[in-house]
Amino acid sequence: MNHEKRKQFITIVIFVAILAILIAVVWRTSGTTTFVRTALSGLTLGSLFFMVSAGLTLIFGLMHVLNFAHGSMFMLGAYIGWQFYTNPTFVFGIAPLIIAFATGLQFLTVIKPRLTQLNLSESLQNLLPRLAWVLVIILVVLAILNFDILGLANTAMVAVTTVTESNPLAELSPQEPLARFWLRPFFLLLGGFLAAVAVSKPGNKKEYVAAEHTTRNWLLIGGLIVATILLTVFREAWSEAILLMNGNLRFVLALFVATGFGLLCGMFIEVLLIRPLYTRSFFIVLMTLGISFVIKETIQFLWTPLAYKMVRPPLFAAPGKAETVADWLLNSNATLDIFGVTFPTYRLFIILLGFLMFIFITLLMTKTRLGMVIRAGVQDPEMVEALGINVRSMFTFVFALGIAMAALGGIGAAPFIPVQPLMGDQYQMQGFITVVIGGMGSYVGAFIGALTLGLARAFGDYYALKWSLSTAVAEASTVIIMVIVLLVKPSGLFGKKE
């Protein structure tokens, strides 16, 4: 065991040494200015790669799921964040519906212990869930009947063309009146509740679950109901308030909204679609591929396959170059002088976001009980369950966390790259290569792999331009690195042997 560790250490030292020599050579040959500019570009790319690969590697490490929907979730995060930032009408238009259904489902935690204890005849036990499902479908159809989702999706499109500086509320369009709208979340709440009834298998005493944390669960449900009502009643007022807000604050909120949306999406996907397939891992691959197609098509349906440009938040928008960081923070310049290189400030923010995410994961995995449980679960989930820990909900959480990080990466990248349905695909590809280089399941490996790939891409681009080679060289460089790493260490830099 100790020998293995030393071997791993030596591999990393050699890897870093090679990297250092390469960097030194490049520095000497290209000069400081070019080197700094290219290195910073590389770090920007590397940060984006890490945001995608962090979730991929966590999900693979714990559940052995290759998530091919990860790039799509990256894209979805970008769209939701972009919508929220430019004109939140769409987000606030659909939020009451989603929250209402989720609130209904949340009743599961409190009604299941009671429903399973009911004395029902066998035929009634079979009939009740079916009846409930039929009602759920009717309610959901009623709730979304005549719902103008395309009109809602179009609200932010206006913002792309109009200047909103003078009057931020210029492009707000009137929405369906509340007197009619309130029925939709109401029906969905009922639908969610009935779905919870159906899922909890009334009368099936074998399904018995202990009523735990009852007060906490009721409080959660109460909070969700209040949230649903607030979101429904003030849905237009919220949009106005957000638009009147300071642009930077709005962007920070957009980051949170996209992340939260990713968290919710991840939970739904894991519980409803992935969980039934854990014993058949091949089908999970097909399932995630299918999910990615559905998400892409939905986005194309809502916003057409065009590419949109998200406006940079004001902190990174003012024209002119800042000489120092303090200068930039004071004047919100678009570019900053770093060692004589004029570098866009927004890209610095992306680098910062990537590093913050790495710190967050490191702290989560090493300092918290949850991280400890995840590390134990990677080795032996059955034993973790045998110690009284709910492994299923841990899987759900880790999946949701991975998706949320991808969504955060998406909105982080949105002001930097065009927002379009296929924007996540190349990041997913690079993310997979990163995970393979770093070793499947290792977040440290993913971080180092992502930075390596980002730098390779940037310097590859630079040399391709300098020696007038095809840009394919830069794209191939990442795969070449992967091949070399796999030849030297088949399990990846930080991977463990099977």
Binding site: M1, N2, K205, K206, E207, Y208, V209, A210, R369, M372, V373, R375, A376, V378, Q379, D380, E382, M383, V384, E385, A386, L387, G388, I389, N390, V391, R392
Partner: protein
């Protein structure tokens, strides 16, 4: 029921049937575990002893039969819910978390905050080695130390029942002796259901025995009677007979 004549059962496994994949592993296992006593499951390799433990825990849920723990039906519940009712599990092959430190391994078993602090003294009294190794990762421990850690982990929360699977497996004789002492000590406060191939250890520790063969319980009784029943031992435990005789001489 008169409590003086018949000890109260903490756990009752009633004629369970368990499939693993397509294999019908348990075809009718019945075990009663009286409170505050050690009960041992005996039988050849592959007879279904480990599967019985895992069926009780809900890790391989039985398809038929009943399992009653503390007067509650627990079959069909999720494993983590069953365990949280107060069952500690020491798996075979020392399934500790190798990448986690000794402390983290013990912390993993906490059900509420402070469980470890509460029982630390008792655990380190049984296994003084662990206190010295507290910060080391699991894969730096020797086989015997890993086994001790596996047992210690089951002692962290308040448990009413311990399921211990082959604690002597692959241990040197002196360590087996130490392990036996530990199990005897902890059985003063907890009920134990033991699976053990080492007949000497089983016969010295346990009060009651069950013999499982081909996924069925074939016979049961008091350990004191089994020791003298060479025919039965020979039929179901085979190779163990010689060890018994050697053990008697020693």
């Amino acid at each position: 029921m008169n409590e003086n004549t018949k000890p109260e059962n903490l756990l009752l496994v009633d004629n369970i049937q368990t499939y693993i994949g397509q294999f019908h592993i348990l075809q009718g296992v019945t075990v009663e575990v009286p409170k505050n006593e050690i009960t041992v499951l005996l039988g050849r390799n592959g007879a279904g002893k480990t599967t019985t433990l895992k069926s009780i825990l809900g890790l391989t849920p039985p398809s038929q039969g009943k399992i009653i723990f503390k007067d509650m039906e627990i079959h069909g519940k999720r494993a983590f819910n069953i365990v949280n009712l107060g069952i500690g599990y020491v798996p075979e092959h020392r399934a500790i978390f190798r990448k986690l430190s000794v402390m983290e391994n013990l912390k993993m078993a906490e059900r509420k905050r402070g469980d470890l602090d509460k029982h630390a003294d008792f655990i380190f009294e049984l296994f003084p080695d662990l206190e010295r190794l507290y910060k080391l990762p699991g894969n730096h421990l020797s086989g015997g130390q890993q086994q001790m850690l596996a047992v210690a982990r089951a002692l962290v929360p308040d448990n009413d029942l311990l399921l211990i699977d082959e604690p002597s497996e692959g241990l040197a004789p002196i360590l087996i002796q130490q392990m036996m002492e530990a199990i005897r000590k902890l059985s003063q406060t907890t009920t134990v259901l033991l699976v053990e191939q080492n007949f000497i250890m089983a016969s010295q520790l346990a009060k009651n025995f069950y013999i499982i063969d081909d996924g069925k319980t074939v016979t049961n009784g008091k350990m004191s009677e089994l020791i003298h029943n060479e025919e039965l031992i020979h039929e179901y435990l085979g190779a163990s007979v010689r060890t018994v005789k050697q053990g008697d001489k020693a």
